[in-house]
Amino acid sequence: MNHLSTSLADNLETAQHLFCQSPDLVIRPFQLKSEQRALLLYFEGLVDKVSITHDILRPLISEAEAIKELSNAPVTVGRVQTVSDWTQVEISLFTGKCVLFVDGIAEALIMFTQGWPQRAISEPQTESTIKGAHQGFVETGEQNIALIRRYLPNHELKLNQYIIGKRVRSTMTLLYLSDIVKPDLVKEMEKRLQSIDVDAILSTGELTDYLDDHPFNLLPQFQTTERPDAAVAHLLQGRIALVVDHSPTVLVGPVTFVSFFQTVDDYSHRWLVASFLRALRFVALLITIFLPASYISLIAFHFEVLPFKLLLSIGESRARVPFPPIIEAFLMEISIEMLREAGLRLPGPVGQTIGVVGGIVIGQAAVQAGIVSNIMVIIVALTAISSFIIPDFDMASSLRLIRFPFMIAASLFGLIGIVISMLLLVGFIMSMRTLGIPYGIPVAPLDMRDWKDIFVRFPLFMLKQRPRSTNATQLRRQGRNRKGGQGGNGA
């Protein structure tokens, strides 16, 4: 029962059987001008109705002569395709195409008239920028590819498409610049994508669980971006991008630990400012992980390290607090995490209220009630702020989690606990690989050639080559610009 029948009545029956209980399926029997009977199927809501009326029904009903071959049917739709089995008809219908059957022909004509509801292109929420572009990806794969093509009109940009998900059948598009990217990388990614056997992949985030090299590790191993310019910047550095239909984020790999601290905006600022911001982010990284843990260890074990006056003011502020520092810290850290989550889930104006209630009322009241000390409030607030400086959301969330084991270790073993935890974290980072690239590159393994664009950002005309951390096969990024130092380009 898989092949189409020559009889229109049979086809109609099969369709009704196959799509029973689908009231949104439109089955439109009509006669061509030559009185040949025909049938048009589509799902209401997934198609562009104007196009169906004007480009399909009108020409067929008012002018079509007898049709012998479907590919010659007088429809004015851009892209058409003939198929001969029901599986493909089904897939086409569900992806917003409409299907034409004509009596006497055992084939069907698929017409690409998709027009489902979609969101307008808007500014990305999680990666806002000051000077960069303000376009963000949307939920339609083709749109996202078009956005990338707008930035990268080059014939070397290749697209490999895969269908993943037995039930949902999402289209994944792997984009790469074929003359820059190392071929192994594409092969490896292809292998991983094709080995996925699931019902449905609804978002890019779900996909990472299947693609990660180290699924049990806390650190993110793929970067996701909502911005076409960021995706293109990654492509130009020799990475690959994966556009997942239904998802407004694009997966980028292979990434390293330090690449999570770079943003596209860095390149639109002047280089000294950008370098300062880069350095600030790494300071924020250290504060996020180490500040609460160090405070706990200093108070609980090594108070002799602190100068006497500082110790006095800390002691004064802690005088009324009945808890050891670790409980104090956990109370505050957990309440700030809850506030963050609450502010995120609530609609905008209510979210702000939560911020005020949490920040002022709980913070101030807790100090006055003697549950926590002022200094702990400062430490926790500083930690929270620095974790928000880290530009990548996944990385920031992971680091926020990592500081809890650090705090526990510090409360048990003081500075030694912190050092041991740090060594374990660094060991995991250094032993990880993503898509065949060491996660710790270019710090360990060391590659000084890449250091121009990590902790600081050198002027762009000095970044003559692509980063080596992506194993790109073609390294040349630009020729010699600004010869002789002073004048403009070669002037």
Partner: protein
């Protein structure tokens, strides 16, 4: 247990080669070196240091020269090849014992150091258990991770010798004069102390076959030894400038006493933080030695995975720390025994190996021209 490591997991780059050797050389020795030198030769110790450096460089180059004839052999393949299965196996065992002993002594010293300077109240088994965790992680992943660890440690610790410069605030340059006032004999005698500080270059025995740029191996060992010399010179010269000979003899950890001079507006006792961070450097000594031992045991017993031996050794260390808590004098005795072994195996053995290799090839050429 995960898959055995493939040769690809061991390839190390030139910088990894240099920093792994350098960071293995810098260990507990630098913390006590100024006093050890002063005891024998007073403030002329820097001359002994230079002589020690020259000898260490020579021996390192001999190691590379001996290894370069068999570029794919580690020490544990080279020994059976040159000495036959039985003697070679015996020598391998000696080296395994030396490397394992070295890491055990270092572990015990690290625990002692931590208890003296950072956490007096903590028990040795707890500390041993904590220390074993990262060491286990780093040793598990083969030479690649050992090399990366060397690089990482270099990057996060290069400020440490520089922080000693704080001690220059009120330096007494006259401390050095007159040069040679303790007699040249004493200077030569002190060379032995300095030689032991350079121990660590014998890692070239296992690193060399995995080095990607073999031509730069000699350059690499010279670099590593020079970096070690610079670090030691900073520590000794600044100690000599700061303290008189008599004061210096009273300090057990003179380099750390130097750090006591550092007073920052927000940190009063900087040396506590310093010692906690210094553990990282000590681990960078323990890990390569432990790997050297585990790898040797793996080769000797013809098994596929060095991880069993690592776990066995580290578990043994934890058990040992429960049963036996060494005193400072016992630790010093162990250090001296390790030094003797190091002198024999790391300094005399390479010379012997090099000569033996030349003779061996000469005789084989005679027999099979």
């Amino acid at each position: 247990m995960r898959r055995p490591l493939s040769p690809e997991d061991h390839k190390i780059s030139f910088t990894q080669f240099v920093f792994t050797i350098y960071k293995t050389q810098i260990g507990i020795g630098i913390l006590t070196l100024p006093r050890d030198l002063v005891e024998t030769t007073g403030t002329d110790g820097w001359i002994s240091l230079l002589i020690g450096y020259a000898i260490a460089v020579t021996v390192s180059i001999l190691i590379i020269a001996a290894m370069s004839k068999y570029p794919n052999d580690t020490l544990y393949e080279l020994l059976p090849r040159l000495f036959g299965a039985w003697i070679g196996g015996g020598l391998s065992l000696l080296w395994i014992g030396y490397a394992a002993g070295g890491s055990l002594v270092m572990l015990l010293w690290s625990i002692h150091l931590t208890q003296v300077w950072v956490l007096p109240a903590i028990s040795s088994p707890t500390l041993m258990f904590l220390f074993v965790l990262p060491i286990c992680l780093y040793t598990f992943h083969g030479l690649k991770l050992v090399g990366r660890f060397g690089e990482f440690v270099y990057l996060i610790s290069f400020w440490m010798p520089l922080s000693l410069f704080w001690g220059l605030k009120d330096a007494h340059w006259l401390n050095f004069l007159p040069i040679g006032h303790n007699g040249w004999v004493n200077i030569i005698l002190a060379v032995k102390t300095t030689l032991l500080s350079f121990l660590g270059f014998e890692l070239a025995f296992i690193l060399y076959p995995y080095l990607t740029e073999k031509k730069r191996a000699i350059q690499g060992v010279v670099f590593a030894n020079t970096l070690a010399l610079i670090t030691y010179s900073i520590a000794t010269v600044i100690s000599f400038l700061q303290f008189s000979e008599e004061t210096l003899k009273e300090y057990v950890w003179p380099s750390l006493v130097l750090l006591k001079l550092i007073r920052l507006p927000f940190v009063e006792r900087f040396e506590i933080i310093f010692v906690a961070l210094y553990l990282v450097i000590l681990f960078a000594t323990i890990v390569p030695y432990l790997y050297m031992a585990a790898m040797g045991a793996n080769r000797l017993l013809r098994t596929k995975n060095h991880r069993y031996y690592t776990i066995a050794f580290l578990a043994g260390c934890v058990v040992l720390s429960v049963l036996f808590r060494p005193s400072f004098w016992q630790l010093q005795w162990m250090g001296r025994q390790y030094g003797k072994a190091g002198f024999l195996l790391a300094f005399l053995f390479p010379v012997f190996l090099w000569l033996w290799g030349i003779g061996y090839r000469f005789i084989r050429k005679e027999r099979h021209p």
